[in-house]
Subunit: 704 residues, 2 copies
């Protein structure tokens, strides 16, 4: 560093756009075609593009860097205007179209997504899931709630002292036979409805989860439509609401608390698809209570798609930056070489390219889950509508499988996305910390996905439990398993400790998939043994259950990935997709869960060593030239990405500087608090301010 | 869930305070005494307490939940007022006192800490590190910068296109012999000074890193004091500054950008402790350039202490919540049992108690590092002042050891703290997402610590490189190693693959410490072999180097922990401290790095299996009863913790509700945007709004 270079050369300005452009030019596949793979088909790809263009042009819906400077109050006001705008699209669109539009809105305006989602996805889903056909028809269509009109619903499930444990909720709905009414009541602070999105200022009605109490008997938690505000938006008698205020993210949502003090609603405001209460107080209970908790299922499916879209957004930013940014010289560079592109460092490749591969795995996994969900829900709805008992039973089985798939995927993919966001931010160095890079807001908005609609640990344990119960039924009761867990049926064959995946099979992703099955089988069986040893104490094996759930999610994602690659028409995409599948399975599955693969001898220590030291670096290097086309393939427009570091043109520094200057005009280089600051800096001497009372002179006088 | 309970019982309100109080009552040691261990001594413990009380009472400095609702502008104004207030303490305190005060301020007001830290810790440290004694004396004392008076300095090192690679900075300082001046210039956008804390609105002077160019020769990057604003706070000619705006966190800091366009400064504004330029343009270069980059070292040491304090804050919140909160019944609970305390679930114990143990490890690790730093810096300063060549050489060696220790600890501890914050937030479920829990702001404020003052990956690689170079010098050149890496001197003995840690030794923390040494030796040796195989390409082994740096940090932390436990006077603390050391080494070291310990046969597969399935759960269970006293031992007052969920009295729900209501008075249940919202909900029918133009009637007319 203290060496003297020859002559002064005014060095050239960096030109990241050229670097990115050159890699784009060298693409060996068409990113538009690759998008068919990601969205599931050419038709869906084109539809998505159409929606993006429409919203990009919409003066109210389009995102911009301005969002990074809005206060909570400004965010809420803007969000209200956007809800209004979306309501006009809803009036003229099919439900499928709306679903796809919302999935895109989620990427660039998650709080708007949630605000609409709470009303349509939670409030109305609750009415659909728990109400009779006539009740749904009344609230959704006659009252026009389906168009965000007259009614804006909120979902009053959680209480301040009860989140995950729905069955333990303490709000009561007591039947009053005399008036043919229910009285909704919050018995104490712990039962205060809490976190209720839209309750603080917006909601007119709430889907309230409360204990049904009839003639002194507690029938457990049921659902009720409770008006909160009248058509003048004034609070109904007995209803107290408040704003729960600032949050880590999603400040555009007015989450609130609600306390009910003897609030009276007509008996027929209870949602009674399953549980019914007659005017005389006769209670009919549902055949299977699981049916009535399905309101959260749809949300979990959506969140897996969100995981794909959000991961695609952040990995695009980080990879464009990693290609455009130079820093340090390569360790083997000559004296005259320029600084190296970040992504040419093996460590940087290893930090980011596996996350790109994982995002590709998320894409088809979320598509397959969504199809499974639509099919299952529709079939069950039909069976219930036709009162087809066999159909209902079959539907409940399918729902259980959907519960397992969506639960393991929701928890696993939301966690992975959270860490992906943070990894991508860190990979952009200091600039990742600027609000305008987008990462901060993205992280803060995303974080809640790991907690809401099923806390990831609780969900993971519950899925793991299904796995252990299923393997128990196979091994001990000789039963077969269907649905997503079907592979467990063969468990007996794989309980020994034979090595399943040899060194030379690491790139054979079908063999890796089989290795994942075997790892799940052996780890589930071990968990079952530990469970026995601890007297059926499921809590004791909690950590194991969560691990099992994660592995199951990867099984689902890898299978969906491989199936799609097998069936894809655009064969020119297969070589690079195959590499992505290899890297995903090598890093996010085999390396990440090497503890399990090693403990149960599914792979050997030597293989894991080769995997880490040779195989993964090579795959990263092979994929390195394709990262720009692979991120372009997500087809996210600059409006969707909304980042100072991630624009398509790659002109990082110019874009970034322009955004910063527009948001913070440099003419204002004196702050509002400048007077305070200047007064401090130019303050009189300490002696003066002490009125010279601490002086030798004073001492002489005062000590006399 | 559909079972009917006997009779309606208005259930009791939750009472978390009682639960926490009971565990406090049952403490087997005195938390005040335990604090001596954490702070290093009884004296330090009492001093910390005194500072906390003083700041708690200070009307300007004390933190409150209000901070979670402040806008960026409000944060900046408040921070300016706080700087002013702190400047009055600085006038009457010793440097040691100030250092301890700032370390505490960091916990409850990190942006204030940074604002003061940039001026005293970066600007003045740069002057101290690179300026002559007379230069330091002039700027710090004559001009009173040391008291935040007349001068408010910023640290203009990074540029928009250069962060970590200081040697590649492109701002120029060209000597003009005619006027005996330097001309400071920003050649292009890439060299724009960026991220400069205080530059946007506050700084009067900058310590500028720029290429020294004399008579056409480039002498590399040196440091210069450049006035930015005059005493009227108006920008100097040629100086352009702007606000870089919103950030992920720390919005109270006015980070700015600076462009210099031919800014002239007198020659003697160059800091010339080492490099000197005469009036004739004769340049004397320093004996060793490393000396002049020490401005960041002090910050790294501080950040390890920060890691301790911040981790102690979040783990206190999460553990008090985990003890006070009940959710679900235990899997083995009877029908009449209450819901279980979160921390009684083995999974929850495993999520949090290892982080508590780790925080205890951070405490003495940071104390030892701080002592090492003080000693090293003072000795080197003395040697330089006395022009003692041998002393300077010895000092440089000591600085290298300090660089290794502080670099590995800074990167490792800041990463671990970041994930600890997120783990603690997630462990508080939905309530962790409320801004008033503190986690959101804490995470956002902390995140930058992984990037600034040495990006963790860059730093990790550089420390790993020192390790590999050192082992090479031992194995290939037969040299000895001193300082923190001394244990490498014995490397030859441990290169075989003998198992070092047996099953029965897992609780013998001294043996674990030795196992860590051996793991470092074997992994460094392997990295050296890979390096050879890849033609000395250091970049190729980047990931391995970062792992080595992390292991080294844990070696340092565990050693400091064990040494302190051995020497502690309060022997009654030893049993619980011993358990904490065991759990820290079992989870954060052995389990986390099991890949390395297994690959190099330092432990056996069987041992890791026992560790995970039996040993760790048992340690968590053993420590479970002590968590409340162990968190009380941090002696963080409610002001310091500043969380709705973490107050000492444990009355979670009442505290939380009170804070929410105060910040968001429920009387305001109509939002400012209510009119918009009501207009949307009560909008006329679609037909009306379409002026009935889409009707059958219109069709009949229009189709004629």
């Amino acid at each position: 560093m203290s060496s003297v270079t020859k002559n002064v050369e005014f060095s050239e300005a960096p030109n990241p756009a050229t670097l990115i452009g050159a890699e784009r030019e060298a693409a060996v596949f068409n990113p538009e075609t690759m998008n068919y793979f990601l969205e599931g088909s050419k038709e869906k790809s084109e539809e998505v593009k159409k929606f993006i263009q429409q919203m990009e042009r919409d003066p109210i819906l389009a995102a911009s860097p301005k969002v990074y400077d809005l206060t909570k109050e400004e965010q809420r006001e803007l969000t209200a205007q956007k809800i209004n705008r979306v309501s006009r699209y809803i009036e003229v669109e099919s439900f499928d179209e709306l679903e796809r539009r919302l999935s895109l809105i989620s990427v660039f305006d998650p709080q708007l997504h949630t605000r609409i989602g709470v009303h349509l996805g939670l409030f109305l889903s609750c009415v659909r899931g728990n109400g009779s056909f006539e009740q749904l028809n009344y609230w959704a269509l006659t009252k026009e709630a389906a168009y965000v009109k007259n009614i804006y619903g909120c979902f009053a499930m959680t209480e301040i002292a009860h989140g995950s444990n729905v069955a333990g909720l303490e709000t009561t709905a007591t039947f009053n036979e005399e008036n043919d009414e229910f009285v909704i009541n919050t018995p104490h602070i712990g039962a205060t409805k809490w976190w209720i999105g839209g309750a603080a200022h917006s909601a007119t009605h709430a889907a309230v989860y409360a204990r049904l109490i009839v003639h002194g008997k507690d029938y457990g938690v049921k659902t009720f439509v409770v008006p909160l505000r009248d058509s003048n938006h004034d609070l109904m008698p007995g209803v107290s609401v408040g704003d729960i205020g600032a949050k880590m993210g999603r400040d555009g949502i007015d989450n609130g608390w609600i306390q009910f003090s003897g609030v009276r609603i007509p008996r027929f405001f209870m949602l009674q698809k399953f549980t019914k209460v007659t005017a005389e107080g006769k209670v009919t209970l549902p055949p299977n209570n699981q049916l009535s908790y399905s309101a959260l299922l749809g949300g979990r499916v959506v969140m897996v798609k969100d995981a794909f879209r959000w991961s695609s957004r952040v990995i695009t930013i980080a990879l464009r930056y990693a290609v455009g940014r130079r820093q340090f010289k390569a360790s083997k560079a000559g004296e005259n070489d320029k600084e190296n592109q970040l992504l040419d460092y093996p460590l940087h490749q290893r930090r980011l390219i596996p996350l790109l591969a994982m995002t590709y795995a998320f894409s088809n996994g979320s598509n397959v889950l969504q199809e499974l969900s639509h099919k299952t829900m529709d079939e069950l709805d039909d069976a219930v509508a036709e009162d087809d008992k066999a159909g209902i039973d079959k539907g409940i089985e399918a729902m259980k499988s959907l519960f397992v798939a969506s639960g393991s995927l929701k928890s696993t993919c939301t966690w992975l996305t959270l860490s992906t966001i943070d990894q991508c931010r860190q990979a952009c160095g200091g600039h990742g910390y600027s609000a305008y890079s987008g990462f901060g807001k993205i992280y803060n908005d995303w974080a809640v996905q790991c907690t809401w609609e099923g806390d990831n640990n609780i969900l993971g344990m519950s899925i793991g439990k299904q796995l252990v119960k299923s393997i128990s039924s196979v091994l001990r009761d000789g039963q077969n398993v269907t649905g997503i867990l079907e592979f467990l049926t063969d468990s007996k064959k794989y309980l020994n400790r034979d090595v399943i995946l040899q060194n030379e099979d690491m790139n054979d992703t079908r063999k890796v998939l089989h290795a994942v099955e075997v790892a799940i089988i052996r780890a589930s069986n071990q968990a079952l043994t530990t469970l026995d040893a601890h007297g059926e104490d499921w809590d004791f094996i909690g950590a194991n259950l969560v691990q099992l759930s994660k592995l199951l999610a990867h099984f689902f994602l890898l299978k969906a990935f491989l199936d799609k690659v097998d069936s894809i028409e655009e064969k020119e995409l297969v070589p690079v997709l195959d590499k992505l599948a290899q890297l995903y399975s090598a890093t996010i599955i085999l390396e990440e869960f090497s503890g399990i693969f090693l403990t149960y001898s599914v792979v050997s220590t030597e293989s894991i060593s080769i995997l880490t030291d040779q195989h993964i670096p090579k795959l990263c290097k092979d994929l390195r030239p394709h990262v720009i086309p692979l991120t372009d393939s997500f087809q996210l427009s600059d409006m969707m990405i909304n980042s100072s570091l991630g624009s398509y043109n790659g002109d990082i520094y110019e874009n970034y500087f322009k955004i910063v200057k527009e948001a913070n005009p440099p003419f204002n280089h004196k702050a509002p608090y400048s007077t305070d600051l200047e007064a401090m800096l130019n303050r009189p001497s300490q002696e003066d301010r002490q009125r010279h009372e601490y002086s030798d002179e004073a001492e002489e006088i005062l000590s006399k």
